[in-house]
Symmetry: C2
Subunit: 528 residues, 2 copies
């Protein structure tokens, strides 16, 4: 097609009345001409000035279309020489016009190279099937997410804020020993071991698995050999792995009510039927109706119930283990922040009491080091450890071995425990400051839950108070708190309250930030 | 309980005839005594010498049990002073003996603190429910994986080897510009930005999304704004996200047959019904039966069919897009290694031809940089981009922002394209050497597929040849090859062949390694 022929063809097909911008129409038509080889590879396209004049449209429109085509690889422009059709089109290109711009399906050539896709052609163009869209048809209406996708997005609990007073669950990353970490990093990158840059073998880096097994045995009374440790990217992936290996679609899982929103989402998209079970001051407390239908799995936070903060009593642990043993349920123990206890020593893990190989223990370095690290772990029952390792490699194709080896050395050199010790003291101070601020302002009017461990506490609000409104009022003053009621699955159980994270709040900001928060509460809830 | 009373009680309960090792019995009994407060917190336990003498067992057994109890946090030992019961037990501990060691359920005390868990107690100990296990009962029989878990593990394709001649799909990580990377790393860790250490906002680090959108528009003709880019940990996570958001359990997905094993596993555990569709030399080629039941999703590798290596023809692309538009199917375009083409320029992406917002484009830095990096990306349809970002944060709780920012700078400084250029030349040489070795040894007897792009080629074997046996024979000689037939879902379609990866094989090893391989082939298949 010569330049003048092209202009004529374009003029003929541009339709000013169909509501589509000329820019888009011109772009489509030129794509079509190139793809169909009407404009063959290497041929020069008219200058933007000439084409604009011949079509009677703004030159700027043509320039923009050409720029877009360059970006898309349809044409390339050589300074001073003009714009040429790229030769990137492979041999098999034949004259099928771009479907969305095609004048009519009847125009499609019948002769295809050996027509191996005759079935596809027939399905597309058979009577009764929808005809190809005409030029200028608006884009297809937006398609919907799947049911599980829509539910996931609608119920998403994730916040756009990841720090500041009083964001719960976020540690103080400014105190992370960056210099030590950086030194280790340099060491590993200088003497580069290629095997640390490739895919992870099932389970993760061997040294880290070893060091971690020692740590968990000693610090958390977890019964485990290094082979049982599966390195993951965190609690989410650990739970995902356990759930996919141990349950099928439609199986029932008990979660604590309230519980951590993120894990609930992971369970739901895996096709589990989530049954929220009430908690009391000894932890999860299944009622008669729950017990009549034993679940396939339970997910519990025995060391520090999330978000309320109580410790599961030993008696409750035993009963849960025994019930699980009798009914062949799996228990996932989420031990997300048990390193931070102020005053009392951590209680041994539930896994450590289990003699039936029915507990899957999961934890993470997100709170103890920094969230962005994305290293967590799962302790699999010994009998299933190898299968967990294989499944993890198969499903997630993990890597990050260099970072894992570094972390192993960081732990082995004692930096991990010393960092935890420091942070425990620091968070303990902040917690003290916040507790005092609460007591000074509200006395015993607003009781505090879960103050003796973790990275946040729960400020209970009076019955009937609207905690979401309170959180919204706080956010208007740039204070992030989370409404306790949002953590409940069953509205009837929901208690009003606010989660106040203190770990990531600098000492000197705690009192003023709490003062701001209490203004918001006083105004919105008529407290004080 | 005084020490002598303890010894008597232990002597009474140790049962030499029940088949359980004394070590385990003693361990359980001591746990029970501590947990039930028969041995109260802070009390001293008898020395190992004394207890061993009183019980008439080896002192070593007692020492080992004490060490285990120290690890588990039940007791602590102070050098020179003896071993003491730890005070870590919380207040609510009452005299429930360890269930697995309990002589009988009837011995359980009835008085519980307020008995909030009466229902659980009743369920456990009601007539008709299984009785508690007696001391000495062997561990519960190993529990089974779920159906999807068992299927995942049984069908796992992941290899224990991740390098060496001729491992397919693994790039040469020794050539990665470690010095440049290390310099950037130091820069980022010196001027530490706390926001890079915390959780990722939905979608990933902003600069990387921006830089990547530019790259994909230019190099791959992908139509995208930075907001459409979702940073993931790789192809597996990208596919997982798309599938969970766009399909429900039981929905049908078309995959190419043969295809990459890892992605098939991801699809299956998400509850999809995977329907393998034949391919021909123009790509996926659905037959009449396939077309009658439009799938919810299709997963294709248009730039470079995996593992066979052909490019999907433009005609096939258009028809697939049009069929998807008519039947409201989603298309996942897996563009895993299109940067490596030798000779021909890469064909533009399928996503770039789509005007209906129905293509989800996924890619990864695993092949272009190094697999262990675990950074990949997904390009979401514009209308769904924000929901994809939210879902990604909700489901995976990602981090690694510092690494992502570094990578953005690495790309922006031009290191990425220059590395790709170097590696393309290097892999081109290795590919040439391997092709020549094949031609010299086998002439045209064993044709080669997919040799003009990617990191591997396929050596076809004569019809009926047992390619798995050939791969096993090669492995005995320490040569890793993968049997082509293993990539097929339908045995009737499976062609025998071997995938030979050349990218991670040093130049000088290619010829000798191929000679070793051909010996194995000659012996096993009677070739030559």
């Amino acid at each position: 097609m010569r330049a003048s022929v092209l202009s004529d063809w374009l003029a003929q097909h541009l339709d000013r009345g169909n509501g589509q911008p000329l820019y888009r129409q011109l772009h489509r038509l030129l794509q079509q001409a190139i793809l169909s080889r009407e404009l063959p590879a290497g041929s020069k396209v008219p200058s933007s000035r000439l084409l604009a004049a011949e079509l009677g449209i703004a030159r700027n429109t043509v320039t923009q279309v050409y720029e877009q085509l360059v970006l898309e690889g349809y044409v390339s422009s050589a300074t001073g020489r003009g714009t040429f059709v790229a030769d990137s089109a492979p041999d098999e290109i034949i004259g099928t016009p771009d479907a969305s711009a095609a004048p009519d399906a009847a125009n499609l050539p019948d002769a295809t190279r050996g027509a191996p896709d005759a079935a596809l052609r027939q399905a597309l163009f058979a009577p009764g099937s929808a005809r190809l869209a005409r030029s200028g048809t608006p884009l297809a209406p937006e398609r919907a997410l799947s049911r599980r996708g829509a539910r996931l997005v609608a119920g998403a609990g994730v916040s756009k804020r990841q720090g500041g007073a009083f964001m719960p669950g976020v540690p103080d990353v400014t105190r992370f020993p960056a210099r030590v970490w950086s030194r280790l990093q340099n060491k590993y990158w200088r003497r580069l071991r290629p095997d640390l840059l490739t895919y992870a073998p099932g389970g993760g880096q061997a040294w880290l698995r070893h060091v971690l097994a020692d740590y968990l045995r000693t610090a958390r009374s977890v019964q485990c050999a290094p082979e049982q440790i599966i390195i993951t990217t965190g609690i989410h992936q650990s739970v995902d792995l356990a759930v996919r290996l141990l349950s099928d679609v439609g199986d029932v899982i008990w979660t604590e009510d309230p519980c951590y929103w993120g894990v609930r989402s992971v369970l739901q998209v895996s096709g589990l039927e989530v049954r929220p079970v009430a908690v009391d001051d000894e932890g999860i407390n299944p009622g008669p109706d729950d017990l009549l239908q034993p679940p396939k799995l339970m997910l519990v936070t025995p060391s520090h119930q999330y978000p309320l903060g109580m410790v599961m009593s030993l008696q409750r642990r035993r009963m849960l283990l025994e019930y699980a043993r009798q009914h062949q349920c799996w228990i996932i123990e989420d031990d997300y922040d048990s390193e931070f206890r102020y005053g009392s020593r951590p209680l041994a893990s539930l896994q450590g009491l289990d003699s039936a190989g029915q507990v899957i223990y999961v934890g993470s370095f997100g709170k103890t080091l920094f969230p962005g690290l994305r290293i967590g772990y799962l302790v699999a029952p010994a009998a299933l450890a190898e299968r967990f390792a294989t499944a993890s490699a198969e499903l997630y194709r993990e890597g990050q071995l260099l970072q894992q080896a570094m972390l192993a050395e960081f732990i082995a050199e004692g930096h991990f425990t010393s960092h935890i010790r420091k942070m425990r003291a620091l968070y303990g101070q902040r917690r003290g400051a916040l507790l005092e601020a609460v007591a000074q302002r509200y006395g015993t009017t607003l009781p505090v839950l879960g103050g003796d461990a973790g990275l946040h506490l729960v400020l209970q609000l009076p019955p009937g108070a609207d905690d979401r409104a309170a959180a919204a009022a706080a956010l208007e003053r740039n204070i992030v708190v989370r409404a306790l009621s949002g953590y409940y699955a069953e509205a009837a159980r929901a208690q009003p309250g606010l989660l106040l994270g203190y770990a990531c709040v600098p000492d000197e900001e705690i009192v003023p930030a709490f003062a701001t928060l209490s203004q918001a509460l006083d105004e919105r809830l008529g407290l004080g």
